[in-house]
Structures are given as structure tokens and as C-alpha cells.
């Protein structure tokens, strides 16, 4: 147990869990309608990794909170305003290009985040991160290769991935935001310094985009914010409605 405010720790771990859960749910929406069998497997596998990471984070968040809420209660019995995931991950799948751009933005970020968190002073957080980093690295590689293939592919695939980049880019600023909770936990050696990762993340992205013959997005652009404090786009409510309907309708349902 580290010496930090338990409320801060709960907020921090919950945010990580919520982003994993929401992205896992988004990816799983592809099941049964992916563009080809191999990608069907890939999308479902990535969804599974994200949900697995979310389970680890949410279980831990529930323990830190100490009010008897387990992973299921946190995932299934909270409303939009209590979710603290990044706005990026709740954006709809739209087409395969959107899904891959969103995945690359997140995975390439999460890879760096968990790389650092595996050395967190909080050993439980470090353990979860040490597993997650390997999975996110694999996702970044997979989605990055797709960005290259789509960008340097046909006229249509190029157009689609270019549009996805332009539309999703304004959601990337939030990845690197740090508020008081982050700062206090960084001070305690628990949290990662995401602000310091931005340049490296951007350089890796640029390398992919050059290879993909895609334009580099501008830094001088307004960025969305608010997901981490419960201010969400309209899309999250619809996602939660689908995800939560069974446990909401039958609160005591069991396998």
C-alpha cells in the first residue's frame, strides 16, 4: 500500500478501467460484421484484451473505494455522468478506417502509459500495467500497420483514413491532460507523467503517417476535453444502454 489519497487513487484507477471498458465494448460491436475473417478475429481479440484490462482496473478501483462495489457494479450500474473514460474511446466505429485510427491513437498512448506505470509505487497498479503494456504494444503495431496499408492503399481507403484522422484528431489532446489528481499521484510516485509522453507519441505517429502518405495533423487545433470528469459526447449513453441492459433489467442475474 502506497501513501497517497485513496480517493485520488480510486479516481485514477477508475479512469483507466473506464477507458479500457468502453474501448473494449466499441471493438466488440464489430463482432459478426468485420470486413474479413482475419480482422474479425483481430478486433474480437483486441476487445478481449481491453475488457480484461478493464476488469483488473475496475476490481482494484472497487477495493480501493471500499464501499463494496466490485467490477460488475462499477461497469454495469453507473450512468454516463459517472464514467470517466477518454472521449476518444467512446467515438463510434463508423467504418474500419475510423476504428483503426482510434485504436492506433489509444494503443500507442497506452503502450507508453503502461510502460511507465509498471514501475508505479503502487504494486497492484504496476502489476496490471505490466501485463497490459504487452497487449497494447501488439495493438499499436497491428493498427499502425493498417494505417499504412489504408493510407497507401486505394483512393477510397486513403480518403477514408484521412477523414478519420481529421475527425478523431481533436480527441487526442485529452490523452495528455493532467489534473490535480494526476499531479498529486505523480508526486507520490503512483501515476505516470502523460504530459511528458506527448512528443514521443507524436513522433511515432508522424512516422506512421509519412509511411502511409497521410497528411500530418496540425497542433494548432482546438481539442475536446471533459471525458475524465464525466462530461461525455452523446455517443456514450447509447453504448452504455446496449452494454448494461441485461444487468440493469435483471440486477441479480448470475451465470
Amino acid at each position: 500500500m502506497t501513501t497517497c489519497d485513496q480517493k485520488d487513487l480510486f479516481t485514477y484507477v477508475l479512469r483507466l478501467g473506464d477507458s479500457g471498458l468502453v474501448l473494449g465494448q466499441r471493438l466488440s460491436e464489430w463482432v459478426g460484421k468485420a470486413p474479413m475473417l482475419e480482422e474479425e478475429m483481430a478486433l474480437a481479440n483486441m476487445a478481449l484484451d481491453m475488457v480484461g484490462q478493464a476488469r483488473n482496473f475496475l476490481s482494484y478501483a472497487g477495493e480501493v473505494e471500499g464501499r463494496g462495489r466490485g467490477e460488475d457494479a462499477l461497469a454495469m450500474h453507473r450512468d454516463v455522468g459517472s464514467f470517466s473514460n477518454l472521449l476518444l474511446v467512446e467515438q463510434p466505429n463508423r467504418d474500419f478506417a475510423y476504428t483503426m485510427v482510434r485504436q492506433y491513437f489509444y494503443a500507442s498512448f497506452a503502450e507508453r502509459l503502461f510502460e511507465q506505470l509498471q514501475h508505479s509505487a503502487d504494486s497492484r497498479l504496476a502489476g496490471i500495467a505490466a501485463k497490459a503494456v504487452k497487449e497494447c504494444r501488439y495493438h499499436a503495431r497491428h493498427s499502425g500497420l493498417w494505417l499504412v496499408r489504408l493510407g497507401d492503399g486505394t483512393e477510397e481507403s486513403h480518403q477514408r483514413v484521412a477523414r478519420a484522422l481529421e475527425d478523431l484528431w481533436p480527441y487526442t489532446g485529452e490523452l495528455f491532460e493532467m489534473d490535480e489528481v494526476d499531479r498529486r499521484l505523480l508526486e507520490a510516485g503512483v501515476a505516470a507523467d502523460v504530459q511528458a509522453m506527448r512528443t514521443e507519441w507524436r513522433e511515432a505517429l508522424n512516422q506512421v503517417l509519412v509511411e502511409a502518405r497521410l497528411p500530418l495533423p496540425s497542433d494548432e487545433i482546438w481539442m475536446h476535453s471533459g471525458g475524465r470528469i464525466g462530461r461525455h459526447s452523446e455517443h456514450l449513453g447509447h453504448l452504455l444502454a446496449t452494454m448494461q441492459i441485461l444487468p440493469r433489467s435483471y440486477p441479480d442475474a448470475n451465470w
Partner: protein
Amino acid sequence: MIASSSDAQTSRVWQVLEAVPDPEIPVLSIVDLGIVREVAWQDDCLLVSITPTYSGCPAAEFIRNQVGSALADAGFETATVSEVLTPAWTTDWISEAGREKLRQYGIAPPEKATGRRGLFAPELTIHCPRCDSRRTECVSEFGSTPCKAHYRCLDCLEPFDYFKCL
């Protein structure tokens, strides 16, 4: 419990665990796979620690139940089977015997310690588990289970699974 009988009991436990197959690759035991992390005794209670291969491995709970019932069948009714995340599992923990079993089963065993491959790293050379050809290609980085990728041999033309390196 005196030390010598405890040692004998411990090796009995390992024998039981060696007979528990991985549900998705039944040719491997969970010991071959390297997911049994510890067999320990607390007073007279047996504690077995298992680590998942992937965060979201759907077989993890099933494996814990299998281990519990295998141990109960062998007379260790009060064994506690718990999950540990640290240190994170790596394919380097698959035993030599396990790697050979994989190959004979038609799954190419993982390369050692290459899981940190970056985006533009060169393609790996994976040997075909059937004809040992080096001329193989990756069909998909994700295969039939979370821990495998899908490959094809360009010589014998057989498709095969490659155990992803983690």
C-alpha cells in the same frame, strides 16, 4: 507437517498439475505453459498460484476450476487456487518440453524475447512446424485464440498457428 513429507507432498502436487491440460491447447499442460507460479504451504493448507496468459484470457477461470478439482480428486480438498498478475507471464516461460509438444502438435513455438517488436521492425522468420521451411508468411497477427497468430507455409502450403510471443 515435517519437511520431508512436505517435499513429497509438493512433488505430488506438481505431478497433479502436470496432468491438467490447457483447455485451448490440450497437448500442453498448465505446467508446460508456465502459468503455475507457485506451490506453497501455509501451515497445512495448500496454496497454488496461477497467472493468466492475457489480461482477458477467457480460459483463466476455467483453468482455476480445473486445477481445484484435479487437486481435490488427488486428495488435496482444501487447496486454495489463486490468481497472481505479477510478474507478468511471458512466452519465455513455456518449457523446452512444451515447445517441442507445440511443434509436434502443428503450432510453431514462440520466438524468445521478441515481444517488444516495434511497428517497423523486420518480419520474423517463423519455421513451419510441419516441414521446417523458413519460407512462411503471416496471414493475420491474431489467430484462433488470444495467444496465437495465423501463418502459412509457402513451401508445403499448409496453414498453421504461431504462438504469439509475449
